[in-house]
Symmetry: C2
Subunit: 308 residues, 2 copies
């Protein structure tokens, strides 16, 4: 295996408090969420996706965002390291007024998924993001972009081939053009496999380099770590993950959601790739929130770590 | 990634009915075991580890081996494709008298593990195997060898470096010298990681080629498939696995045991590597035995497959 391209240091974007928690049924109090985020920064996190400004009735777990930000301030948490998902201008105004300096915006490679998820075509979602971006730039708010269903869609299946890669690259290019700083390519339903990851990653790295490309895997079929190693060996150095594997998959009841950050740490620690994260403190944060959620981790590694 | 060495076709040795079941508490009847083995061959298995001739009081799940072989014969199962674990000459005689033509023998790279497991030093275990092998050869019985704790031992930890690799190679060479046909190198406690697998596999492939080398991973920490892909890309083409991920880990209560055959099939099918196994029929066999055991699979892929 060609390990010459493998980075010595990677960045993990912790998405547990948003992408993870929003797929958990039990509502967690703002004080507990803030405590969790504090623990994550204490464990070495560089960047935490902390919440979102979506409609409270659509995603009740995220309804407390104003309150949460108040709690984060009370704990002296550096808000510049916290990202908040923002779907529209109204959300952007709220975020700005609360002192948020980093937001995430989102679209998908699937028309059907976008229609069902945000009631917009891909083009319409790009226009919305563009409007948002114009204002965000004047507010000096940094933007992260999510592209969902990159490796497969629950409605449109798996797309591959040169035309699809060209479409994907064009989509990413449009986002970079409007000052999106980093794009996270998501395997929303956990169907990616290593050869596909290799093909897609090589293509994206060739077009955009490895400083603005993140990969976001779900471990629905137990393939996330294999995919991450494949991408890592090609030079990808930004990965999204969720502490303890928080979050189910809304498209398959009972299925596993985001890959657990601890699984990444197990891999990176073994390979001596620096993540800056402290596994012990991380596992404590997971124990705390899993206890709040009254559930077990979906990570075999972490389960074993807890028992050892 | 250099995929030039990746085999187009691999062999899976199904160890569920022995290595898997022997770590399950609920005793399965011989008729049900035979039915399971029949389903596995119907799903395309080339080789099934079907049972063992160890002491009935030590491993109650394997106490019915005489009966099981009777049931296999009733179902017209080709016994030449069934391997039975044999610890000593007495077991060999029993196997021979029942018409068995393929046995597995075992040792480990750890003195402590061997002492606790078979009450013998590594050298003593080699002597026992040698005595066995002499007789087996006269009976025209084919032999498979297991080396346990290759990647880590519950008592002696993880060993690496050139001296260890030399020791491992010498051990394997001694087994090949006494007509052991194929050696399965085991990650008994599921601690192997990809760089270690790469180092060990490259070394073993260089010394022995890829026709007699099998790898046997446990998914205790969710790293088995990542390790298997790493080895596959280097040319390893024989892998042991257990349907549905049957079998716990006797050294860590509640931890995951053998990697699930279906996880391998998910990987190999995605990579278009031929295994000869039918996933649908395999999943049916797993459903049958998991139902008998009254437990859920440990495989995220299979869990998702069942729910889809």
């Amino acid at each position: 295996m060609n390990k010459l391209l493998r980075p010595k240091k990677i960045k993990i974007v912790e998405v547990g408090p948003r992408d993870g928690l929003q797929n958990e049924k039990k509502i967690i109090k703002s004080t507990e969420k803030a405590k969790l985020i504090k623990m994550l920064f204490n464990a070495g996190c560089e960047e935490v996706e902390a919440g979102s400004f979506v409609r409270a009735d659509k995603i009740p777990q995220m309804a407390d965002v104003n309150n949460l930000i108040g709690e984060l301030k009370k704990l002296n948490i550096d808000l510049s390291k916290c990202t908040f998902l923002v779907p529209n201008l109204q959300g952007l105004e709220r975020a700005y007024n609360l002192g948020i300096t980093k937001i995430a915006v989102f679209t998908a490679t699937s028309e059907t998924f976008n229609k069902k998820n945000i009631n917009a075509s891909i083009d319409e979602s790009l226009k919305r993001i563009e409007e948002l971006a114009k204002v965000a730039v004047t507010y000096k708010i940094e933007m992260r972009g999510y592209i969902s269903t990159v490796f497969g869609c629950p409605y449109e299946g798996i797309k591959e081939g040169q035309n699809y890669l060209k479409f994907l690259t064009d989509l990413a290019r449009q986002l970079f053009a409007i000052k999106i700083n980093e794009i996270s390519f998501g395997d929303t339903i956990g169907v990616a496999h290593p050869d596909q990851v290799e093909e897609f990653s090589s293509h994206l790295l060739e077009k955009f380099g490895n400083k603005k490309i993140a990969l976001h895997f779900h471990d629905t079929r137990g393939m996330a770590i294999t995919n991450i190693l494949t991408a890592l060996n090609l030079g990808v150095e930004i990965f999204d993950s969720s502490l303890g594997g928080l979050g189910g998959c809304p498209y398959a009841k009972g299925a596993t959601g985001n890959v657990a950050t601890e699984d990444l740490l197990n891999l990176f620690n073994n390979l001596k790739v620096e993540s800056g994260l402290d596994l012990k403190k991380y596992a404590e944060a997971s124990k705390f929130i899993l206890n709040e959620l009254e559930k077990e981790t979906t990570s075999k590694f972490l389960l074993n770590y807890f028992k050892a």
